[in-house]
């Protein structure tokens, strides 16, 4: 227990250091730190609709982040959440616009199922290459992100484009209001129940089933898992499919919730932020939920900040980068002297 407490404390410390460094950069660029901080509090909590907006931004982070947790626990660096999120949203859009006069619950159900399947498929291709050929999944999932973004761009600028739309960024037509599970705020009882239910299911799967234990075993030591008769390839494929399914679901929730239509390149950072969220949450379900709400709050604050302090969105990307750079630092491995044992030297 002290071990996990230590990990929580060190993670909090590292996130704190990342914030400090980013604040220093802001301060050096002439922003008044106190204004930025009060702006963040206002934009994420106290302003009208700010708390709702924080939850709205936390929802995709949580869903994609849970997928990252499953993948990382099994030892797979599936960082393709962005692409899976996009193709999920795209498929839900195609179903909803293609069948726009269908019965609302049925269409939404079909659209969500399509999103989940598309997300898993987008993840299973790198997953299959990984378990079958040993192809590095970090690079393939990254490339699938770029391809997914282009699929979205194609749909919103081509077949699904809103012909009456103006402005520089292409956007699709709106889905019928009857299909939506939330209003523009992105938060409703249905959405919260859905996301909460998924989080509980993932928790049950990871912490209370044989499969959850198997994943961790495969992640820690695939060779030993194989010796114990575990089909490592099958476990790998299932975890890839589950990660993709969660990201695809996030895409559907985005469309049926706050979006109602898709815009080229919307939420471009959510996939990477979800990785940061999962790591800050120490790859636990509730930790990820807490981190998602925290980073969702920051996202919401950035949308309010232009009014308050003129802080641009890239500052948030910078902050996420800082956190990612530092969050996996292991304090115990700080060695000021040459390592003593050969085993230590090998991993130094």
């Amino acid at each position: 227990m002290t071990g996990s407490l230590q990990r929580v404390a060190s993670t909090l410390l590292l996130v704190g250091v990342s914030f400090l460094l980013t604040t220093l950069i802001l301060w050096a660029s002439g922003y008044r730190v106190s204004e930025v901080f009060s702006g963040v509090i206002e934009g994420s909590l106290t302003a009208t609709g700010a708390a709702t907006s924080s939850i709205r931004w936390a929802i995709p982070l949580l869903l994609i982040g849970l997928g990252v947790v499953i993948g990382f626990r099994a030892g797979f660096f599936n960082i393709g959440g962005q692409g899976q999120f996009y193709v999920g949203a795209c498929c839900a859009l195609v179903v909803s616009l293609g069948w726009r006069d269908g019965p609302a619950p049925l269409v939404v159900l079909c659209g969500t199922a399509a999103a989940i399947m598309a997300g898993s498929a987008w993840s299973l291709l790198p997953g299959y290459l990984r378990v079958r050929f040993g192809t590095d999944e970090v690079l393939t999932t990254l490339m699938m992100n770029f391809i997914g973004a282009l699929v979205l761009q194609y749909l919103t600028a081509g077949p699904m484009r809103n012909p009456s739309g103006t402005g520089q960024t292409a956007a699709s037509e709106r889905i019928p209001e009857a299909f939506r599970i939330t209003d523009g705020s992105g938060v409703s009882a249905t959405a919260l129940l859905l996301v909460g239910g998924v989080a509980v299911l993932v928790w049950l799967l990871l912490e209370r089933t044989r499969f959850g234990l198997t994943i961790v075993l495969v992640g820690r030591n695939p060779t030993m898992a194989r010796w114990q008769g575990i089909d490592v390839r099958r476990v790998g494929l299932v975890t890839f499919a589950l990660s993709g399914a969660l990201a695809g679901l996030a895409g559907a929730v985005e469309l049926y919730g706050p979006g109602a239509r898709l815009v080229t390149g919307f939420s471009p950072e959510v996939g990477f932020t979800a990785v940061v969220v999962a790591l800050v949450g120490l790859l636990s379900v509730w930790g990820t939920a807490a981190a998602a709400i925290f980073f969702g709050g920051l996202q919401s604050a950035i949308l309010f900040l232009p009014i308050v302090t003129d802080l641009p969105p890239p500052a948030l990307v910078l902050l996420h980068g800082m956190v990612a750079l530092l969050v996996t630092v292991k304090f115990r491995s700080v060695r000021w002297r040459r390592p003593g044992s050969p085993a230590e030297a090998l991993t130094a």
Binding site: I25, S29, G134, M143, L318, H320, G321, A324, L325, V329
Partner: protein
């Protein structure tokens, strides 16, 4: 055809420079996903310092300095501090992308992009027809890129330093037994990689173009990294892989002009990424033949939590 070849050289040069950087990192056993961030930092710093001082040479020197400093930070985080190489690398990329976009607003009060008059000299220019087009309008960096690749090959193959680097990457324990400190070797490799990324970024902003744009690297750092794997982490191999990706890019740009009527633009733009997946797949098959390299590679890819 001449136009395609010219565009190939222009698209390939930054890729080849950054791929050479990736080769150094890979040889030292680092799965370097921060190349993209270093590249964009190089592109921005060159423009920023170039604009401030009016000298492109100072801009490039400053870019090399900044990228080396960032590389040193990256080394410190993944080495002595024991952070995960991949996550920290992606973090470095985000710091680069976010930091440059932020600095563009904070320093120059611009959003999106910024034009610059400070550009690299172009040894041959003005040719508009015939085979001369192929070599025309290229910045000086395109011309010296082959020399840099050749130098990298000689350093890695012929110098004590290069051999130590490969040894430290493939089997750190053995290297340590032979009196080589793998950690220091990795720092040196990362510093060289940082400098080369700065050159790649500079070629992008002040070589091929006259501006810096937010996110202008657009995944090139990652594609360069794939070129390293495709080129079997050999400088010459990586350079040819970079040329190939440059060629794919040129075909994409060319067909965007000619055949957009029939093929949607987005599908043409997908080509490099689809090819990249094939490349990683094939490169991975290739890689698995080399068990020694596998040892060093696997050591740095251990999941940790």
């Amino acid at each position: 055809m001449e136009q395609i070849l010219a565009t190939t050289l222009r698209s390939a040069a930054p890729l080849v420079l950054v791929a050479t950087a990736g080769v150094f990192a890979f040889r030292a056993g680092i799965f370097h996903l921060g190349l993209e961030g270093l590249m964009i930092t190089g592109a921005f710093t060159t423009v920023a310092v170039g604009e401030a001082t009016g000298s492109v040479e100072l801009g490039i020197l400053a870019a090399i300095g900044v990228c080396m400093a960032l590389s040193a930070v990256y080394w410190w985080v993944i080495g002595p501090l024991g952070a995960n190489v991949i996550i920290a690398g992606l973090g470095l990329t985000s710091v680069g992308l976010g930091g440059t976009a932020f600095a563009l607003g904070a320093i120059f009060d611009r959003r999106g992009s910024m034009f610059t008059d400070v550009v690299l000299p172009r040894p041959v220019s003005g040719t508009t027809s015939g085979p001369g087009v192929i070599v025309s309008e290229h910045s000086i960096l395109v011309w010296i890129t082959p020399l840099i690749v050749l130098a990298a090959w000689i350093v890695l193959r012929r110098s004590r330093f290069g051999l130590r680097m490969t040894a430290a990457g493939e089997y750190p324990f053995a290297a340590r037994t032979a009196g080589v400190n793998p950690s220091i070797v990795r720092l040196q490799a990362l510093l060289i990689a940082g400098g080369l990324c700065a050159l790649g970024g500079a070629e992008l902003s002040v070589g091929a173009l006259h501006n810096f744009t937010e996110n202008m690297t657009n995944g090139r750092g990652f594609i360069a990294f794939v070129a390293v794997i495709f080129g079997a982490w050999h400088p010459i191999g990586a350079a040819f892989a970079g040329l190939f990706f440059g060629f794919a890019d040129a075909i994409g740009i060319q067909s965007q002009i000619n055949i957009t009527e029939r093929v949607p633009r987005e599908f043409v733009l997908m080509i490099p990424f689809v090819l990249t997946i094939f490349a990683v797949w094939l490169g991975g098959l290739w890689r698995r033949r080399s068990l020694e390299a596998e040892a060093g590679y696997a050591e740095l890819r251990e999941p940790d939590y």
